[in-house]
């Protein structure tokens, strides 16, 4: 076991600020970071991630590897919810709709977890390719569609009316489509990626003092806010969720990581790229997917999926998960 890596990951300012927020919330401090400010920071972070990824992509060839990784990423996002759904149905008492909605979160990704892993890579001297950002953006959505298919199939077999079929169906579909494909994280991430790719190193030199240098500091501030949110979720979660359900939020990332490790082996990815793809697979969404679920599966209870993904999986990932995923990456990496 690489305890140095675990310590380096946890004792970084970014993770420590997360823990600070978490502890403050658990102690029931009433401090908050205004939503408008936190949302602004989130947009900044995605612009920065996208730009840097785009510039990195502009400097390397578009190889077959890239195409294969994209394919693998999309497939992971699409298929992991199936496993998550089965696990939830087998090991917890969650109903079909709650299980499907939760499963969608685990197929999709957390961009902050991705970024934290990118930082942690530097502790062990690994590098990664810019196109992983594109893979991250790509993995946001298929999981949502997958969950809807799961629910739809079950509905058809039981003869129920689909949730979306009441009301003005076509309109709702259009709205859902826009929410799922044109939500802020995808627009900004993909847009910034394209801009970074178009303008290249020279183009973003002028904006680097804003988008590159202060990035880690902004991340600290953002993670303080996430710590507050996670702590609140956790406090609520202990009371409401059964241990079996909470356990899912720990073992599901490990299942996803294992599967992704296999995929990386097949693709022959480098250690750094593998570590990031494994992290993406193991991470769970807490912004884009919850919003989409309120539109597509409003009967599912947000307190379940939010507590699990933000209150349990996210803290687990950015402390113990990432070192583990990096070790898996090193182990499988070409």
């Amino acid at each position: 076991m690489n305890t140095d890596l675990i310590i380096a990951t946890i004792v970084s300012p970014v993770v420590l600020f997360f823990i600070l927020g978490l502890v403050a919330a658990l102690l029931r401090s009433q401090m908050t970071i205004p939503e408008a400010f936190a949302k602004g920071l989130a947009i900044y972070l995605m612009m920065s991630i996208g730009l840097k990824g785009g510039v990195a992509m502009s400097q390397s060839e578009l190889t077959l590897e890239l195409g294969l990784v994209m394919l693998a990423a999309g497939t992971l996002s699409f298929l992991l919810p199936v496993i998550a759904f089965a696990a939830l149905r087998l090991t917890t008492g969650l109903g079909r709709i709650d299980a499907a909605a939760t499963a969608a979160h685990y197929g999709s990704i957390s961009i902050v977890t991705f970024v934290a892993a990118t930082q942690a890579l530097t502790f062990v001297g690994l590098t990664s390719d810019g196109y992983l950002v594109a893979a991250a953006a790509l993995m946001e959505t298929p999981a949502i569609i997958s969950a809807l298919i799961i629910v739809g199939m079950k509905r058809r077999t039981t003869g129920e009316a689909s949730a979306a079929s009441t009301g003005t169906e076509a309109q709702d579909r259009g709205e859902l489509f826009r929410e799922v494909l044109l939500n802020a994280s995808i627009v900004v991430l993909v847009g910034a990626l394209a801009i970074g790719w178009i303008t290249g190193e020279r183009g973003i030199a002028a904006v680097a003092p804003f988008f590159v240098a202060p990035f880690q500091g902004v991340l600290c501030l953002f993670l303080l806010d996430m710590g507050l949110a996670a702590g609140k979720g956790l406090r609520r979660g202990w009371r409401e969720l059964k241990p079996g359900t909470l356990a899912f939020a720990i073992y599901m990332p490990l299942i996803s990581a294992s599967i992704a490790t296999g995929v990386c082996a097949l693709l022959g990815l480098s250690a750094g790229n593998a570590a990031l793809l494994i992290t993406l697979a193991a991470s769970a969404s807490y912004i884009a997917v919850p919003a989409a679920m309120r539109l597509a599966l409003p009967e599912a209870r947000p307190s379940i999926y939010l507590t699990l993904s933000l209150g349990v999986t996210f803290p687990f990932n950015i402390t113990l998960g990432i070192p583990l995923y990096i070790m898996l990456g090193q182990w499988v990496g070409a």
């Binding site: 919330a25 908050t32 970071i33 205004p34 939503e35 936190a38 949730a163 009441t166 009301g167 003005t168 309109q171 709702d172 709205e175 929410e179 806010d225 996430m226 507050l228 949110a229 609140k232 609520r236 807490y286 912004i287 919850p290 919003a291 679920m293 309120r294 539109l295 409003p298 009967e299 947000p302 307190s303 939010l306 933000l310």
Partner: protein
């Protein structure tokens, strides 16, 4: 002053667009949306500033209109509210320029 109805819908913000579309379709002359900061329902508190996802945010939509329009809005909104979180209420208000509503 004449009497009109004031419809107040407190609904999750993800369903705001759906509720607004219904109001426009039944033909209210206008509505205004406010955002809620925090709340409580079914034993659970939520708060805009600590919930990082938009999924638990609520908004309030206020629309002043004549009784018939509000009634047809209510019917369709209740269907929406059977799936989305929120509450709906209607009260009497006096207005000065009834032709406006």
């Amino acid at each position: 002053m004449e009497t009109r109805k004031r419809l107040e819908i407190i609904i999750e913000s993800m369903a705001q667009r759906r509720a607004c579309t219904i109001l426009e379709e039944v033909g209210v002359t206008g509505y205004t949306v406010f955002y809620a900061l925090a709340g409580y329902g079914r034993g659970q508190r939520w708060s805009r500033d600590t919930d990082i996802s938009d999924a638990s945010d609520m908004v309030m939509i206020v629309s002043i209109s004549d009784e018939a329009t509000i009634n047809s809005a209510c019917e369709r909104l209740m269907k929406l509210l059977s799936r989305q979180m929120g509450v709906l209420s209607v009260s009497d208000v006096a207005v000065m320029r009834p032709e406006q509503f």
